[in-house]
């Protein structure tokens, strides 16, 4: 008996064999799907901020105002992983700042900082990778997630970001807070992931 693999490949080949000709691979320029308003946006950083805010991601350019925002949100427990300890010094007013993230504490951490692997100006997306994210859960489970975006790592377009994808088991583009409109089409933020998504641009 032939294996499932052989069966599928032989049916696919049999299906395609009678085609008199097959559609050629279309050639298209990298910018083919860029929105027409993109050309007028000279500054990638300004564009990123505009697009991020439009999709619900708050943008900060200094730690003080970010920390002030978190306090105003009633945040008590903050996770800041080891590579970012320099930021922890600026978070003295929270009841707890920890660099340890464990499964047992998934529901206790109110806010988490993690380094981003980049950002996309065109869509206002933050890029997270396994290389830069110490724990996938840490960037997902807390109500507040703040990604640290470096100015130099902002890709201008989606196509640029696709062309520059690093070798990593998992890359994720985060475009705004977790949301659903399943119930009567009403938009609700914070379904499974962060209800408040932010980035700190450094």
């Amino acid at each position: 008996m032939s294996t499932a693999r052989e069966q599928i490949f032989s049916s696919v080949r049999a299906a395609l064999a009678p085609l008199p000709e097959r559609t050629a691979r279309p050639v298209f320029s990298k910018d083919v799907a860029e929105p027409h308003w993109l050309a007028a946006e000279a500054d990638s950083l300004a564009l990123f901020q505009k697009r991020a805010e439009a999709t619900g991601t708050k943008c900060f350019t200094d730690m003080e105002s970010c920390a002030a925002w978190l306090r105003s949100q009633g945040v008590r427990t903050v996770y800041i992983p080891a590579p970012l300890t320099r930021l922890a010094a600026l978070c003295s007013e929270f009841s707890e700042v920890t660099s340890e993230y464990t499964r047992a504490r998934v529901n206790e951490i109110d806010a988490a900082f993690t380094p981003a692997a980049g950002a996309i100006a065109e869509s206002g997306s933050i890029i997270l990778s396994d290389e830069s994210t110490p724990d996938r859960l840490a960037a997902l489970a807390p109500w507040h997630h703040i990604a640290l975006v470096s100015r130099a790592e902002i890709h201008r377009t989606i196509a640029d970001a696709l062309a520059a994808m690093p070798d990593d088991p998992n890359l994720i583009w985060v475009t705004g807070p977790s949301k659903t409109a399943d119930v009567e089409g009403i938009l609700i933020q914070g379904v499974h992931g962060p209800g408040a998504q932010a980035c700190l641009i450094l």
Binding site: T23, A33, M165, P169
Partner: protein, 462 residues
């Protein structure tokens, strides 16, 4: 007289449900139209390009599927193949049982609906929880999704509040925010306890082996953050040549589905966790499922395999808006379902051969399709196939007598003239049930049959 099943379902549908489906679908169409119009000066050119990309991919599936397999293996994933729905279910449960897994969390996947995975896992004693809010509500209600992207478009907040109360997720509360928070709390434990996460895939890049998943809730991310095993069920047609094509496809998918430039989470999965990147699942399995797809590829309806499951054709379809998704009696509703479902039924084609008739062939589905599938043409081909295979055709009036009449010039002339008697008959009193609903709101003009012929004859004489 027998009626078309979709029409019958629409007539019996609760008015509230119909209203909800109609307004939610119309809003979806409106959003899509606005965002594409704002962002692109020639969105149709982009749709046609995306259509060519997908058509090229499925017409080279032999090459790309093999390449995808090699790329996935190179990244450390296990690759499996399943010919039928049953094989696919068994492949999933075999992996789970071998690993001793008892609990799984699932993110939304149409192919898992197609193969009825949850029923199978339940039957072998594995708990499988749908984590997408809408899909979870479908699961606890023992219901079926009625839309590809908005599975509970047919339910209102009161229905959902009752279901949550019944399932012990708190007292009755129909505030959408409260419902969502309760699901958040409930799912947390499920994610953390799960042994495996099951997902679908929106695209698989043959060149890099990257599996692309798009969601808004973040549930697929959770399914790949907490459990130690990842199983992806992928229809063989999901393969695309390389990552570069994603620039076109992702830009159209979000806009067509929900009017978003990109969905909130666009995830690129490239193998299991590595020693230096240990956060994700340790094991990754990709199951490529055929389930009639290779037969569709062999048919003259292969263009339907381009579909990227955005649901835009459902939203725009006047029949879907009236009838809702369950009228289509299959996993894929709306225009795409009217083509895909009878084809996926394989040997049971005839049972769903009425679906391609549930369309006025207005062509709106083709106009909104991000991959430019000629759905009306495919509907006609399938209508023809149904006719050739003598599929039952309820709702179609017998045409035999008319055919005789229309093929004899003498009989036709006679009928044209003698039908003047119709002007004397009170039509609303005729015992023809299928005419009565029509006549309630309309009247026929006076019968003037044969006058054109007389006029032509006189004109020739002059």
């Amino acid at each position: 007289m027998a009626e078309q099943k979709v029409e019958l379902f629409a007539r019996r549908l609760d008015r509230g449900v119909q209203q909800a489906v109609h307004s939610n679908s119309a809003a979806g169409t409106e959003k899509r139209y606005t965002v594409l119009g704002t962002d692109y000066s020639a969105p149709d050119d982009l749709r046609r390009l995306a259509g060519q990309i997908r058509q090229h991919a499925i017409e080279h599936l032999d090459t790309y599927l093999e390449q995808a397999e090699q790329s996935l293996k190179r990244q450390g994933a296990h690759v499996h193949y399943a010919v039928t729905a049953e094989d696919a279910c068994r492949a999933v449960s075999d992996i789970l049982q071998k690993a001793g897994a008892k609990k799984v969390v699932k993110s939304k996947s149409m192919i898992s609906e197609e193969i009825h995975l949850n029923d199978h896992l339940g039957s072998v004693g594995i708990e499988s929880v749908e984590t997408d809010l809408g899909e979870y509500i479908i699961q606890i209600d023992g219901d079926h999704p009625s839309h590809i992207v908005k599975p509970i478009i047919h339910k209102n907040r009161r229905d959902i509040a009752k279901s949550f109360e019944r399932e012990g997720l708190g007292d009755y509360n129909d505030d959408p925010e409260t419902i969502t928070r309760r699901a958040r709390v409930f799912m947390r434990d499920k994610y953390l306890q799960a042994d495996a996460g099951i997902t679908g895939a929106n695209f698989v890049s043959a060149e890099t082996g990257r599996l692309v998943l798009v969601t808004n809730e973040g549930n697929s991310r959770f399914c790949l953050a907490a459990p130690k095993i990842h199983i992806a069920l992928v229809g063989i047609e999901k393969v695309i040549p390389s990552d570069a094509e994603l620039a076109v496809l992702l830009n159209l998918l979000g806009r067509s589905a929900t009017g978003q430039q990109l969905t909130v989470y666009t995830e690129f999965i490239n193998g299991p966790a590595r020693t230096d990147r240990p956060s994700g699942p340790q094991e990754m399995h990709v199951i490529f499922v055929d389930n009639e797809r290779s037969q569709i590829l062999a048919s003259d309806c292969r263009e339907i395999l381009r579909c990227i499951r955005c649901g835009a054709c459902l939203n725009v379809c006047p029949v879907y808006r009236q009838a809702s998704g369950h009228a289509y009696r299959s996993v894929y509703p709306g225009p795409v379902g009217a083509v895909l479902s009878p084809l996926l039924a394989g040997k049971n084609f005839k049972q769903l051969a009425d679906l391609p008739k549930a369309s006025s062939l207005c062509g709106a589905c083709n106009e909104v399709c991000p991959v430019d599938i000629p759905i009306p043409d495919l509907l006609l081909k399938l209508r023809n196939r149904g006719h050739e295979e003598h599929a039952p055709s309820p709702g179609t009036p017998p045409m035999g007598a008319f055919a005789k009449l229309a093929s004899s010039p003498m009989l036709w002339r006679f009928a044209m003239k003698s039908n003047k008697v119709m002007n004397l008959v009170p039509l609303e009193k005729l015992p023809l049930p299928y005419l009565q609903p029509w006549l309630k709101t309309r009247t026929l003009p006076e019968w003037r049959g044969g006058e054109f012929r007389s006029w032509m004859k006189d004109r020739r004489k002059k």
